[in-house]
């Protein structure tokens, strides 16, 4: 009996919202890349090796503008710096992942992170296999979407305006689930509030990194107070 299939199925159902979002966002990236004169091979290369949504869009601009290596590295640090904090939250969960650990770390995008910290493996399914398939499927969707987008050019068969709301809806649902499940609601509220303040102060292109630093600082400073109100596991 193959023990992987139940884990793959369970992961597939969990990742359906991300599949929708990644296929369409990936296709949008592919179309953009194609419009700058780069073929689907470039889309494949970038989605396999970079695998970071917003940064891949930014990289198209860098490539088209013949930017320097230094500015490419700096922009990546600014855009993807938030992923540092995802790793901090996954230290324990990835601890016993064995051979799968490097890939789990490499593929930790916003969306995969949000699923890994919310989705629970059903009874009888190996949580490690389940987590691994979530990460792997998510990247496959992204790669498939971006290659198809680059190959098909701008020939999307229907008006897909507004499809990116699927990500907003996904995060909102996860937010609500955590809100109802946890005894301690201060972290969620604090995160949203700090992000909102930073958005107003720093503007929409750079606010995420300062809000992460500020939230971390507040958590470290008020650690004992914030941890109160029951264990949150």
């Amino acid at each position: 009996m193959n023990r992987r299939m139940p884990a793959l199925w369970a992961a597939f159902f969990q990742t359906i919202p991300i599949m929708t979002g990644y296929l369409f966002l990936g296709a949008a990236f592919g179309v953009l890349l194609q419009s700058k004169g780069y073929s689907w091979l470039w889309a494949l290369l970038m989605s396999v090796f970079i695998y970071a949504g917003s940064m891949q869009f930014a990289a198209v601009g860098l490539m088209a503008g013949a930017a320097s290596v230094v500015s490419a590295a700096l922009l990546t640090l600014m855009v993807n710096g938030r992923h540092l904090f995802y790793g901090l939250s996954m230290l324990e969960q990835f601890r016993d992942m064995g051979r799968k650990r490097p890939y789990m770390i490499f593929s930790l995008t916003d969306e995969t992170f949000s699923l890994l910290c919310s989705a629970k493996a059903p009874a009888g399914v190996d949580p490690k296999q389940f987590g691994f398939f979530i990460s792997l499927l998510d990247q496959l969707y992204w790669v498939a979407g971006s290659v198809a987008g680059a190959a098909a050019g701008a020939l999307l068969p229907f008006d897909s305006r507004g499809i990116d709301f699927v990500m907003t809806a996904l995060f909102t649902v996860i937010f609500l689930d955590r809100w109802q499940a946890e005894g301690n609601r201060r972290p969620a509220l604090l995160g949203a509030a700090i992000a909102l303040i930073c958005l107003l102060v720093f503007g929409k292109s750079v606010f995420l990194l300062p809000s992460l630093f500020l939230t971390t600082a507040v958590f470290l400073a008020f650690r004992r107070k914030l941890a109160g109100g029951g264990r949150t596991g």
């Binding site: 901090l88 897909s160 907003t168 909102t172 958005l199 929409k204 470290l220 941890a227």
Partner: protein, 110 residues
Amino acid sequence: MNPEAGNAALIVAVVALTTAGIRAAPFVLFPPGKKTPEPILSLGRVLPSAVIGMLVVYCLKDVSPLRYPYGLPELIALLAVAGLHLWKKNTLLSIGAGTALYMLLVQLIF
């Protein structure tokens, strides 16, 4: 073939390596064999909730409440997602119906 292909390949490599480096940094700093400091572990317990709240705000960053359509499509669709989810508790239904509603709103009404 694009004339800047060499430089473009270099940029792809730099972006890929920098991204992987960022993602690996916490795991290199706090390896499994070593005991991770307690403040870092407690941070790992509260950050996920905070980051999800942050990502909701991040997704809505392009909404301009002071200009037409005043963020109304987002507000309506978000209320639908939240209402549906609190009522039916079905993740796919909440996300699917909310997204479909948003697409209808931005394509046909606003």
